[in-house]
């Protein structure tokens, strides 16, 4: 714990909700507990199993950066700034550019307060994101240089959906920075609750309602035009059919997100042309 700073509480607690009953008396009750999804019910926010939350996307918000983007999916909010290509700090010659990624979950982004410094989890995610983006970027066009991608997750509603959002957002920021790419990278995540429910783009409460023991998580990043998978992570025990089914579901959603990304990119180009 860092004692030099004002530390917030370790845990946040859901407030009690005030309700007024028939006799006019005010009661304070706990919010309804999180419930697991069953095929014949709708999800908590009214979506069906294959739906993702609506996306809002904008490129070019940060004036300082070469390119930037903001990505919002209900309560998941991610921003990304791209700097470069700039000269390598080290003198060592490199034929390919170095794609340097950093991701930070802001301290208040999750239910539990996150540390101010980068923890091992974030370092690994940064690695994932660099691996997911690299195939799309024409690194050989920028020898001796570094391209830096800085992502902050402002709010996280579902850990893996936030990671998927970060990848898509970073790819839009790279495009906004005018860096040569062969395609955009889009990512989607899914929660597979046994036996065969595939919940796309799971929110935090759904992740909590399906503990790791009987559920798997899958994240797929792809180049939609090239039909290539640039990254895939699976956690949790699934049989091969479930994995294939979940991957197909992710790829389907990726194609949809690609459409959204293209739409917003076109819009932002028009906007910038008007200014």
């Amino acid at each position: 714990m860092d004692r030099r700073r004002v530390n917030g509480p370790e845990l946040s607690v859901a407030p009690l909700v005030a309700t007024v009953d028939a006799e006019g008396a005010v009661n304070f009750v706990q919010e309804t507990p999180k419930q697991a999804f069953t095929p014949d019910t709708k999800r908590q926010d009214g979506r069906s199993a294959g739906d993702i939350r609506p996306i809002y996307l904008r490129a070019g918000l940060v004036n300082q950066a070469s390119g930037s983007a903001y990505f919002e999916q209900k309560n998941t909010r991610v921003t990304c700034g791209v700097y470069g290509p700039r000269q390598n700090k080290k003198a060592q010659f490199n034929e390919l550019a170095r794609l340097e990624c950093e991701i930070k979950f802001t301290p208040s982004s999750c239910e539990k307060r996150r540390a101010l410094h980068r923890d091992p989890e974030e370092k690994e995610l940064a690695n994932f994101i660099a691996q997911a983006l690299s195939p799309a970027v024409k690194l050989d066009r920028y020898p001796k240089s570094t391209i830096s991608v800085y992502i902050s997750v402002i709010q996280c509603d579902g850990w893996w959906s936030a990671v998927a959002a970060a990848i898509t957002c970073a790819s839009v920021a790279l495009i906004d920075a005018g860096i040569d790419m062969i395609d955009s990278v889009v990512a989607a995540s899914t929660l597979v609750a046994n036996p065969s429910t595939v919940l796309m783009d799971a929110s935090q409460s759904e992740e909590d309602a399906h503990p790791h023991i009987d559920a798997g998580v899958l994240l797929v990043a792809e180049l939609p035009t090239f039909k290539s998978i640039t990254h895939v992570v699976q956690m949790g025990k699934l049989d091969i059919n479930q994995t294939t089914k979940a991957t197909e579901a992710c790829l389907e959603v990726c194609a949809k997100i690609h459409g959204v990304v293209n739409h917003y990119l076109r819009e932002s180009v028009i906007q910038q042309a008007e200014i």
Partner: protein, 277 residues
């Protein structure tokens, strides 16, 4: 993956062209593992240990230490803990730049952590001694002594063997009061110690290397420099996929991907079936 920079474009081309026609520098088939050596009980002070050396290249030493730990408020009340750490010894990584070595250490540690802690595998609930009070904590420390490609597979092989080798002392629990308070004694007798619950469910990994429109297993160090992307699939004894992770800077075509998932460890590869039930 860090490169030592000791490979020329001509060599890369030579090795990659070989993959296309199914020929590898050391004469192996595309789906053939190198010979491996597996040693158990190699560190006397640990609760369990193993060393795995594959093809006289990659060498991983794993030590498991078992200790009693407290369950802090806010943690899951009825589960034990597994703490993993993977470190490439400085003698292997001298040639790499320090950031690459750190990144690799972190990548492997997180991967192992996810394999053992979050899902399935070791039965964490059986590692709990008294709910809300005490549990067993397993420290799984892996040291990479030498590097010759295919680190993921070797690591999981050594970890599985070390967990097989690990013994946890028995405990005697008694109630001390009427209010349900409990205390326990650890029984020192090594004869009474028990194996790690669920060690047999710990998966093994197969890493498939994608290069020049084909894929192959068990890459040597040189071959690893020539691959576009790697796909690590961990599979348990029931054939369930426990984790998938892609690494490397390339992409894998969607068409081949489902086929790659179906690759399973087979006896004719000469793979570590020694501990396979």
């Amino acid at each position: 993956m860090a490169t030592t920079g000791l490979i020329s474009p001509a060599e890369i081309n030579y090795i990659r062209e070989g993959f296309a026609v199914g020929i590898r520098a050391d004469g192996r088939a595309l789906r053939q593992y190198r010979e491996y050596l597996l040693g158990l009980d190699v560190i006397s002070h640990s609760s369990g240990s193993a060393r795995c050396r594959i093809g006289f290249g990659t060498d991983v030493l794993v030590g498991v230490k078992v200790e009693v730990s407290n369950i802090e408020p806010g943690e899951v009340p009825n589960r034990g803990k597994v703490v993993c750490n993977v470190e490439c010894s400085p003698s292997t990584t001298q040639n790499w730049d320090s950031r690459a070595a750190d990144e690799l250490n972190n990548e492997l540690t997180q991967f192992l952590h996810r394999c053992l802690n979050d899902y399935d595998g070791i039965d964490l609930e059986k590692l709990c001694i008294i709910p809300n009070q005490s549990c067993w904590i397993l420290y799984v420390d892996a040291l990479v002594l030498d590097f010759g490609g295919n680190l993921y597979d070797t690591l999981l092989m050594a970890v599985r063997a070390a967990l097989f080798n690990t013994r946890i002392p028995k405990v005697h629990i008694e109630e001390t009061g009427d209010d349900g308070e409990k205390e326990f004694d650890v029984i020192d007798d090594p004869e009474e110690a028990e194996p790690v619950p669920g060690w047999a469910d710990v998966p093994l990994a197969v890493t498939l290397n994608w290069a020049n429109q084909t894929y192959f297993v068990d890459a040597s160090e040189m071959e690893e420099h020539c691959t576009d992307a790697k796909l690590t699939v961990t599979v348990n004894k029931n054939g369930h996929i426990c984790a998938i992770q892609k690494s490397g800077l390339g992409a894998i075509p969607q068409k081949v991907y489902p086929e790659m998932l179906t690759v399973r460890i087979r006896q004719e590869w000469g793979v570590p079936l020694a501990l396979w039930p």
